[in-house]
Structures are given as structure tokens and as C-alpha cells.
């Protein structure tokens, strides 16, 4: 994804979270991950992404 494209997605997610409010954000993000992951054939890619996303959150 080019910088411009990821920026569009970034902004759309941020806006959606703001629209839904903090309480529903978690469920929304969980749904979004499942929806996107379902489109990706390579399961190990997704599993790595799960670990990547958790990096620096655990400390």
C-alpha cells in the first residue's frame, strides 16, 4: 500500500471509532480484524501480524 492509500484507511478507521464511541471501539476493531483476516490466504502472515501488533504493548 502506498503512503497515500494507508493514510486514507488510517483516517477512515479513526473517524469510525470516533463515530461509534469508545465503548464500541473494541468490538468494532475485533470485527474489522476478522473481516480483513478472512481475505488473506496466508495464515502465518496474519499470525505474525497479531504478534507484531502486540509488540511494545506488553511492556
Amino acid at each position: 500500500m502506498t503512503e497515500n492509500k494507508i493514510e486514507i484507511v488510517y483516517e477512515a478507521i479513526a473517524d469510525k471509532i470516533d463515530n461509534l464511541g469508545e465503548e464500541k471501539a473494541k468490538l468494532f476493531l475485533a470485527k474489522l480484524s476478522l473481516l480483513l483476516a478472512n481475505k488473506i490466504e496466508d495464515t502465518s502472515f496474519v499470525l505474525n501480524a497479531i504478534d507484531d501488533a502486540a509488540l511494545s504493548l506488553n511492556q
Binding site: K26, L27, A30, K31, S33, L34, L35, N38
Partner: protein
């Protein structure tokens, strides 16, 4: 529990029989040695007694009650159990009464998110699942047990102690008249989840208790929904919880609803609360007619098992050996397989048709099956009753997506029941190098398929069965085959042969319990017989010839 004003066994549809303790002449031989004692005349004890009787082995069956188990308890009987009923000659009563089903519907907040089908086709002799109340299960087994001359049942007779000796066990029994002792060479402990034999011998179930508690309620109503399992996730009647609905014979419906963490078990079991909860569920189902309360209880999702299902001359069978969650509907079905497994093995050993080593395969095979159930049902438990934040969030995400996206609904599919495979057992022979290209492997159940006017499994004999695929092999086998082994010739061009992936000189050996013991792509009749001795842990010399 029953509604106020009704006695413990006062059912809306079932007449509980009353069994007295042994009386008069029947007391003369109470202390004589028994070859096999079975403790507990629940569904599993009765099945074990019938399985032994099928091998011609006598048993004495003890139960401390004077009637069947109270309430309907387990209601889902799987295809594999029907094969066991058939081998014991009791399947017709079950087929007549029970309701077969293949379909499940799951709903999320009132909207249907999944319709699943369990594997079924016109090639199958039995449906994947049947609903029938446990009282009927026990009654139909009892109808066969009570007329079997090889089984002596002693009701109202409680085992209050057991001592292991070198070649036998001594049991202490208490009945309304006295306390006496009797000895037995083998003991099958079929005495249920609270097994006293297990306690006397100092064994403990190990595993996990899950958080989820369900109230299970049976009601009577004229409701015209077909026999389809319904699961309601997060319904109006139970926000955040899960409800399961099953149809049973006699207009009886099973409603299982999950309790939330704040609901105290004792309170939830109060009759008024049960009535209110049921009314709320029925409202969600759009049922406005009348209904009557039959029976209710509470059940939680445990995965507990013994480390070893055998202690010397004592075998643990059924709930005494394992407790599994209800979602996999395997508590009872798993027990039936235990009983059939130990039944033929002990029978073959006592009849000197197999060596004692065969008995060593009971615990690994059946404990393996339980661990497999644990794995699958703890997966469903975590979906049905997620007990942590992460699992609940993802479950809710999947359900919420499922309203529009099919793939997410599949996560709610319980994928119930593929029979366990005994691939690592000592009582099978694994595939050798000259591997088959397909077909079922040793340790798997023989698959079903129609052949001639019937089914493949109809061709199996009572003992081991050799399936062969050319006339010469079959003729030669008939000449040299030992007692108790059947030879079946199958047309190489049949669909069954294709399913088994065989050639002209191939052979399969099927065990008395329908599992594949061994198979070869290319083998001689003489070699088959040799391999058969291995499977029965016998040397050729000691095996009786016809």
C-alpha cells in the same frame, strides 16, 4: 428437580418402574463368586452387561437405586451409539421412539446466522444424531438386560467396599436385608460421576472446571418446530447468555440456558425463577401456547478424567472415568463406546480367544477418545460460554459479523462428533510401507456405504471380520480360518471396494466393535491368519481351530 407437589419420579410422560432387592431363593447364592461384577445399572453398566453377554460372558449387575435415573439428563444419542445398540440387538426400540436430526440453527439477537448440517447421506444407515430421553434409553436397555439369562441384576444393592487381591476382588454389599461379601475376578466400575469404587481405590478425576453453568429444563408443549437444534446467542430473554433448544419425543422440549456470573445456582433453581426464565425463552421463540414444567437441573462444563481407566482387575467405564461438557453431546455417547470396547475385549480374553494383553488397550483407546472430546468441547465451551474478556470480545465480533458474513457464522458451528481414531493403539496394526492411496486407515471406524440391498456394516460378523476381494482368497480363508472370525467376499467392482481403495489381493480386518484393525494392499490368506494372531495377542499354537 420437579415442580412443587410432584414426587421425585412423578413424570408427565414416563412411568418409573420399581425394582426390589433380591428376595427369597434369589438370596441363596448372593455370596458365590462372580466372573464379572458390574457396579451401576445406569446406561453404561447395562450396555457393558449386554456387550459381555453378547460374548457369552455372565455378569452380576449391582445398583443402589430402586428405579432408573431421575429426569431425562442426556438426550442426544449419536450415530456411533446406534451401531452399538444394533450389535446388542436393541436398536429397533430406539429407532422407533427417538427423533433423528441433522440440522442446527444458530441465532444472534434473534437473527439467524448459521444453518449447519451434520454429515449425512443416503449411504448412511443411521442419522448423525437422535434425540431421546435418558429414561427411555435406560428402559430399552433394561428390557434387554432383564430377559438375558447371562445377566443377574441386584437392585437396591450398594457396593460399600472393595478389596483388591491377586486374582480377584472382594466386594462388600449392603442391601435392605443385610451386608454381605462376594468375590469377583473382574470388576467394571460403571457407577457414575460420583463413583464410589473410584474413591475406595483412591483415584481422582483430573482436569478443569469451566465457568459456564447451565440450567437444563424439560417442558411439555405442543410446539410445531421440527427436530432442529437451536442455539440462541445473546437473545432478548438472556442478554449476554446462550440458550439451547432441543425437541424430544412425547412433546417434551429441552431448554438449556446459561446462567450469568451474578446468578446464584441455588436461586436459579427455584421453581418460580425457572418458570420465569422458560417463559422468557418461549416468548423469544414466539410460542404463545400453554406448557407444563416436567423436570430441571443444573449442569456445568467440566473436563475431568482419570489418568488410567484401569486399576488391575477393575476397569472404569462411563462417567466414573470421565466427565465432559454437554455441548459436544458426548458424555453418554463416549460411555457407550467405553462399554462396547471393554465388553468385547474382556469377552474375548475370558473366552480364551485373545490374550490378556488385549485388555491393556482399553485405557489408551478410550482415554484417548476422552481427551479428544475435551479438546473439541473445550473449544465449543469457549465459544458458547467464553469466560475471559478476549474470548468474549472475539466471540461477539464473530457473531456480530455473522449477521452478514457466512464465514463468521461457521465459527459457531459445533462440528459435533467425528468418532475418535485409535491410530496409535496396540490393538491395531498400522499401515505398512506399501501404502494405500486412500480409504480408511487402521484405527478408524469402517465407513458406511450401501452395498447390494443393504449396508456394508450389515456384512460384518460378530467377531473379527476379514474383508477380501477375490474368490480364491475367500475360499482359502474359509478353509484355514479359526473360530469366531468371519470372511466376507466383496465384489472388487463395487462402490464399497472403491471406497476402501482396494485391489484384487487386498484385505481389511475389522474388529468386533467395527473399527478397522489392519489392512493390506496385497497379502496372502496365510499371512492374514498370522496377523490375526497378533491382533488377538495369541500364538498360533494356542488358538482353537474350527
Amino acid at each position: 428437580m420437579r415442580p412443587a407437589g410432584r414426587a421425585q419420579n412423578e413424570s408427565l410422560y414416563f412411568n418409573y418402574p420399581f425394582f426390589s432387592a433380591p428376595q427369597g431363593k434369589k438370596r441363596d447364592h448372593l455370596t458365590s463368586n462372580a466372573q464379572v461384577v458390574i457396579v451401576g445399572a445406569g446406561p453404561i453398566g447395562m450396555t457393558a452387561a449386554l456387550a459381555l453377554a453378547r460374548e457369552g460372558v455372565k455378569s452380576v449387575l449391582f445398583d443402589n437405586k430402586s428405579t432408573f435415573n431421575d429426569g431425562s439428563r442426556a438426550i442426544c444419542v449419536a450415530r456411533s451409539s446406534f451401531y452399538i445398540f444394533e450389535s446388542l440387538g436393541v436398536s429397533s426400540a430406539f429407532l422407533e421412539k427417538s427423533l433423528g436430526w441433522t440440522t442446527g440453527h444458530s441465532f444472534y439477537r434473534g437473527q439467524k446466522i448459521l444453518e449447519f448440517q451434520m454429515p449425512d447421506s443416503s449411504e448412511e444407515k443411521f442419522r448423525p444424531m437422535y434425540n431421546i430421553q435418558q429414561q427411555y434409553i435406560e428402559k430399552f436397555l433394561w428390557d434387554a438386560v432383564s430377559v438375558n439369562p447371562l445377566i443377574e441384576t441386584r437392585w437396591q444393592s450398594e457396593i460399600i467396599g472393595i478389596k483388591k487381591k491377586k486374582n480377584e476382588c472382594t466386594l462388600r454389599i449392603k442391601d435392605p436385608e443385610e451386608i454381605y461379601e462376594t468375590s469377583s475376578n473382574w470388576v467394571l466400575a460403571c457407577d457414575g460421576a460420583h463413583s464410589s469404587i473410584r474413591k475406595f481405590l483412591g483415584h481422582r478425576l483430573k482436569g478443569e472446571n469451566y465457568e459456564g453453568r447451565y440450567v437444563i429444563v424439560d417442558i411439555k408443549m405442543e410446539h410445531d418446530y421440527p427436530t432442529i437444534r437451536r442455539a440462541l446467542f445473546d437473545p432478548d430473554c438472556r442478554r449476554g447468555g446462550t440458550v439451547l433448544i432441543h425437541k424430544q419425543p412425547d412433546n417434551i422440549w429441552r431448554i438449556d440456558y446459561q446462567l450469568n456470573d451474578n446468578e446464584k445456582t441455588q436461586q436459579a433453581l427455584d421453581e418460580n425463577n425457572v418458570r420465569d426464565s422458560v417463559s422468557a425463552v418461549l416468548k423469544d421463540l414466539n410460542y404463545n401456547g400453554s406448557w407444563e414444567l416436567e423436570w430441571w437441573s443444573v449442569y456445568s462444563a467440566n473436563t475431568l478424567a482419570l489418568d488410567d481407566y484401569r486399576d488391575g482387575r477393575v476397569f472404569f467405564v462411563g462417567d466414573s472415568a470421565h466427565i465432559v461438557p454437554i455441548f459436544g453431546v458426548r458424555g453418554l455417547n463416549n460411555g457407550f463406546s467405553d462399554a462396547a470396547n471393554i465388553g468385547w475385549k474382556l469377552g474375548w480374553v475370558l473366552n480364551n480367544k485373545a490374550g490378556k494383553e488385549l485388555l491393556n488397550s482399553y485405557s489408551p483407546e478410550r482415554r484417548g477418545a476422552t481427551i479428544d472430546v475435551f479438546y473439541n468441547s473445550s473449544k465449543s465451551s469457549k465459544f458458547m460460554t467464553p469466560s475471559t474478556y478476549g474470548w468474549k470480545l472475539m466471540r461477539d465480533a464473530a457473531l456480530s459479523l455473522a449477521l452478514k458474513h457466512k464465514f463468521a457464522g461457521e465459527l459457531a458451528n459445533p462440528r459435533q462428533f467425528t468418532p475418535y481414531k485409535y491410530s496409535e493403539s496396540t490393538a491395531i496394526i498400522k499401515d505398512t510401507n506399501e501404502n494405500f492411496l486412500g480409504g480408511p486407515k487402521p484405527g478408524e471406524l469402517l465407513p458406511e456405504i450401501t452395498i447390494d440391498a443393504g449396508y456394508l456394516t450389515d456384512l460384518l460378523g460378530e467377531g473379527f471380520t476379514i474383508l477380501c476381494f477375490n474368490k480364491d482368497t475367500s475360499k482359502k480363508l474359509d478353509e484355514i480360518i479359526p473360530d469366531g472370525i468371519s470372511v466376507v467376499l466383496i465384489d472388487l467392482l463395487s462402490r464399497a471396494s472403491k471406497l476402501l481403495s482396494v485391489e484384487n489381493k487386498s484385505a481389511y480386518i475389522v474388529r468386533p466393535d467395527g473399527y478397522i484393525a489392519a489392512r493390506w494392499k496385497n497379502i496372502t490368506p496365510e499371512k492374514i491368519i498370522q496377523e490375526l494372531y497378533k491382533l488377538t495377542f495369541k500364538t498360533e499354537m494356542s488358538h482353537d481351530r474350527k
